[in-house]
Assembly symmetry: C2
Homo-oligomer: 430 residues x 2
């Protein structure tokens, strides 16, 4: 039953992920052949710097001409692990035009141009798979696209960036400040020299866009995702979180509105209860919590980055698209039929934890409470603490629209008796 013509795979990029993909493809060839139902062969690896030493990578496969490689009509599958928008996008499009299916780990490209790429794949009757683009080795795209295909997903709540989780976990466990924790993450190789994409939430926002699109069967682009980084989280915020039985995580949150007629996607730091399964996700690990109508609450946990875990996800997709090639079929493509609009952050319903420095005199609480009432925001708990003529007031609200909550904070800032807003943090996962 086994076909004998080998499936030919071309690899674009040979960094930490690409070299691990090469290692597995060249050392586990028999297993891959059995699992695909046909032999599989790596026929070329496009790199920018051909002279770099790459242990275990066959030198005869290396080329600098990526375009010529994806134009080869005998290539069945192109694996793109270059990252970034160009030349990745052009190379993938050219691969489609020449009949190749594509496996990509490129979250930025998929979050920005997923719709056009899916359309191009469908037009040419080939596959576009990208399990590795979200949370490394953790199966998420496939469970959402396939396992939950008969269910209705209402919420996705995830820790999808290992760098920021490492930093926040460090701040939580050691009481360190942000800079100190970032320095340790950099020293240990968890943070890049320029950590902007991670700490400002850009990386997580791209993943949120991809997850929201798959979960709700609609189109969500990177621009649709509200984004706040975690560089302003302080040791004092962690102390406040502890008093509430919470910790702080940078969360990617994708939600269907209560009326079912729109969706939202956002990335920001938030307090979550210590009893929530995401609270105990340590170090650079990732985890994604999914709430679906019939399935209930599911969680997927594992290493969200790194060469070997990402290569595992890429290889799973290579096996899948190769099987499809053997069967002369394609897997599920983009599913965006619900066309649900993406609402703005102001419409998101959430809770705020607000810490105010106030004058220590009678009537302050009444003034503050009036401001909340005027904005239609209901207060859950208030805690007052006096210290040398000054006092602090910690307010946790009930659920309200983010626009109303942020307008409340702006109004509080204008009160004479409010000396300053020490911290504002959303509360999620309850």
């Amino acid at each position: 039953m086994m076909r004998t013509r080998p499936l030919k795979v071309a690899l674009l990029g040979c960094g930490v992920v690409g070299s691990e993909v090469t290692r597995i493809m060249t050392t586990h060839t028999d297993d891959l052949t059995q699992r695909i139902g046909a032999p599989v062969e790596l026929v070329g690896i496009a790199v920018r710097r051909p002279d770099r030493v790459r242990e275990g990578v066959p030198a005869e496969l290396i080329t600098t001409d990526a375009t010529a490689l994806v134009k080869r009509d005998d290539v069945d599958v192109v694996v793109e692990v270059i990252g970034g928008i160009e030349p990745a996008r052009s190379l993938i499009t050219t691969a489609f035009e020449h009949g190749a299916s594509v496996v990509s780990a490129n979250k930025a490209l998929l979050a920005q141009d997923g719709a056009a790429l899916h359309a191009a794949a469908e037009q040419h009757g080939v596959d576009l798979y990208y399990e590795a683009a979200v949370a490394g080795a953790i199966p998420l795209v496939r469970p959402l696209r396939e396992s939950l295909a008969g269910d209705k997903v209402n919420r996705v709540l995830g820790i999808v960036n290992g760098t920021t989780n490492f930093i926040l976990d460090k701040m939580d466990s050691s009481g360190a400040g942000y800079s100190e924790a970032l320095d340790e993450a950099t020293a240990l190789g968890y943070a890049e020299a320029d950590p902007t994409a991670d700490v400002e939430g850009f990386d997580a926002a791209a993943k949120a866009a991809i997850l929201a699109g798959i979960a709700f069967h609609t189109r969500v682009r990177l621009d649709d995702v509200y984004r706040e980084g975690m560089t302003e989280v302080t040791a004092a915020d962690f102390a406040s979180a502890k008093q509430m039985g919470c910790t702080i995580k940078l969360l990617a949150i994708c939600e269907r509105a209560a009326d079912g007629r729109s969706v939202t996607a956002r990335v920001h730091p938030a307090m979550i209860p210590l009893t929530h399964p995401l609270a105990s996700v340590r170090g650079a690990y990732n985890a994604v919590f999914i709430e679906a109508e019939a399935a209930g609450q599911l969680m997927f946990y594992g290493p969200g980055a790194g060469g070997a875990p990402t290569a595992s996800a890429v290889l799973g997709d290579i096996v899948a698209v190769c099987r499809n090639k053997v069967a002369e079929a394609t897997g599920p493509g983009e599913s965006a039929y619900t066309r649900l609009p993406v609402s703005t952050m102001g419409e998101v319903v959430t809770r705020y934890h607000i810490s105010l420095d106030v004058a220590d005199k009678p009537g302050v609480l009444a003034q503050v409470a009036t401001v909340f009432a005027e904005h239609g925001v209901s207060i859950d708990t208030v805690r007052q603490q006096g210290k040398d003529g000054e006092a602090s007031l910690v307010v946790v609200t009930h659920r309200a629209a983010d626009a109303a909550l942020s307008a409340t904070v702006e109004a509080l800032r204008k009160l004479d008796t409010v000396r300053g807003v020490a911290s504002i943090m959303r509360v999620e996962g309850e």
Copy 2:
């Protein structure tokens, strides 16, 4: 692009899972149509008791003639949620013969006759999908068969039975004994009137056989799985576990031997460290921890049983096999090419926690230590406690073959100074 002839689905069984499958298929028809790429229609529901009131189930679909239903040549997909070996096996086989793909939630049947059923499906060019057979709504079969298809799984460690996890969690948190915790589980509907299949580990053993087969690409039958129930776990065992920083879980453990030349599958209670992600799985939840060469450590968590969660998994499979029908293809079938033999429990490498009641006199520890040494079992820690002329000795071993460990325990029982073996428990997850 949408085909117009509807895919026809026949349902066998209409208990808690079947009626939820019916509810979703009849109320979420438009979503299913969009996700499949063709309309889908429920054309018949075979039940034993047609007169039973089933809210929301269209009466005109009910039939008592299951055989006639699966013989209908216009049926594309048969969904089997009857359970048990017969008549499920004959009905599935007949469905294959008439060209239908099958979605089954039947762990007992798949663990016993999976190989023959997979062969029959392949012979007739149809699919056999069974995500719901293992751990309800938690995607496990698909991640193992597809997401990790390019990786090498070395270990699967899971809590795959909600009833026993509820009981053990209750014993842990309240100090209750087994009987008391079982009574509560029964009162709350988590345990059946006859809890044997759950508490004696039969249910978990069937799931272990299925998981081991998929994970290691070999055939593992129910008979190959070593099984110990959890009815003899005591409050004293939990107290010992706590002293070690552990809790006790009923685990399904599937492992590849260190030399890679055999596999094992087993179900038994075991101590696991509180720091292990499985330790915090509460109540009736299930979770499965997977260790793979490239992916590293992954965990999947969710509701392991119940009508709606199981229906979610069944529906995901219905969408998948319907898509395959539309594409005139089949998904991945059985993958048992490694033909790795299944070793016996004696060959499993594990650690023992042994609690002995001994005479409180000098030389006892030396005697006991000699017995361990004679069996080649190395001791990790020993704790001695005296109490009124008697003493207890708690020994935790290093890793050794289970046969050597159990022979050690037998030899200890024969020592004059050993009054009794108070408890023996394996230690896992380190």
